[in-house]
């Protein structure tokens, strides 16, 4: 039995659920945090979304059928939570999610939890020009170095399509940085 399947079995056993859940949190908190942070940009928002992600995992672990890896399932929840968060915030502010993303990038300059230079800001602006799915693919591959196989499970897209999407994203970003 793999570590993941033992963990999953414990998560579904009421008496072991609490301990297994804290093990799950410590195993995946960093990876999921950086995945979320790349989408929402600010630390505070990433923290909120990460909390919500784990709460959703806890509440729904009973209905997880194991069709995909636990890891991919959690990534999928984190992605959906982050995108829902952005859409909700944009709706509250009565702006588009693209405008909200642009505002989030503007705020990076004064964010104490951002230590990037002008080039990192430019990179964020370049990523923001990509369609939503391409942004996800780029962030997951470029910054987190996820395998196409895992990405394929998380995003429910074929590996071939993901590779093509990633290379298009690289070229668009390169062109954006050259033109700036």
């Amino acid at each position: 039995m793999s570590q993941e399947s033992i963990l999953l079995a414990n998560l579904k056993t009421e008496s072991k659920k609490e301990i297994a859940f804290s093990e799950l949190v410590s195993l995946y908190k960093e990876r999921l945090y950086w995945h979320i942070r790349n989408i929402v940009k600010s630390h505070d928002d990433a923290d909120d979304v990460l909390q919500n992600t784990f709460i959703k995992v806890y509440k729904n672990i009973g209905s997880f059928k194991g069709d995909s890896k636990l890891y991919s399932w959690m990534y999928r929840i984190a992605t959906n939570e982050a995108i829902t968060f952005i859409n909700k915030r944009a709706k509250q502010m009565q702006i588009s999610s693209e405008e909200l993303q642009s505002l989030a990038i503007d705020n990076l300059k004064s964010d104490v939890y951002f230590e990037g230079d002008e080039i990192q800001i430019k990179l964020q602006r370049a990523i923001a020009t990509l369609p939503e799915k391409q942004q996800l693919v780029f962030n997951m591959k470029y910054f987190q170095d996820l395998k196409y196989k895992d990405m394929s499970e998380i995003l429910e897209t074929s590996e071939g399509a993901l590779k093509a999407s990633y290379h298009i994203a690289i070229k668009k970003i390169e062109a954006f940085l050259l033109n700036q």
Binding site: Y33, I55, Y58, K59, L108, Y113, G116, I170, E174
Partner: protein, 166 residues
């Protein structure tokens, strides 16, 4: 027959997507170029964030609503503004020596008049207050009193007996 077939197989049967080798090199170079320019997001977390990260779940499966502590100075702009304000407060709160050196020029005539009226000076003391007698004399001489003012003054301030003294 089987043996003959084995010798006749000269190809693996593997094939690649169209333009695979041409695009492979191009894609690889693009990625290397980009990673040379920028390969980190610049994002960071507060110190010890991951060590202290906990998910609090209440009995009904929802997150316990604990008030979130947000540092006042998590924004660089606020930190800068607060520093500037602090410097100003310190500067303002130091007593200025120049504030204590008053001169007559800085007082308005109403304040002087009120001061003189409220303090019961006799003529000798008033005389001492007049430092520059020349200026005082010329201001008295140049002051033109019209009849109405003079009459008003005498009516309000003089007793008939006082006028009869001399």
């Amino acid at each position: 027959m089987k043996k003959l077939n084995k010798h006749n197989v000269s190809e693996t049967g593997f094939k690649t997507p169209d333009d695979y080798f041409a695009s492979f090199e191009e894609n690889l170079l693009s990625e290397i170029n980009l990673k040379e320019k920028v390969n980190a997001t610049g994002f960071k977390t507060p110190d010890g964030y991951f060590d202290n990260f906990k998910v609090t779940i209440s009995e009904n499966g929802k997150q316990k609503s604990e008030p979130k502590v947000i540092s006042l100075f998590r924004n660089k702009k606020w930190l800068a503004a607060a520093s500037i304000a602090a410097v100003f407060i310190v500067l303002i709160s130091f007593p200025k020596e120049t504030d204590n050196s008053l001169d007559f020029a800085s007082l308005d005539s109403d304040s002087i008049e009120t001061y003189l009226l409220n303090n019961d000076f006799d003529s000798a003391e008033l005389n001492n207050l007049i430092v520059n007698t020349t200026d005082f004399e010329s201001s008295i001489l140049e002051e033109t009193l019209n009849d109405v003012h003079l009459e008003d003054y005498l009516y309000n301030n003089m007793e008939l007996e006082d006028l009869n003294l001399e």
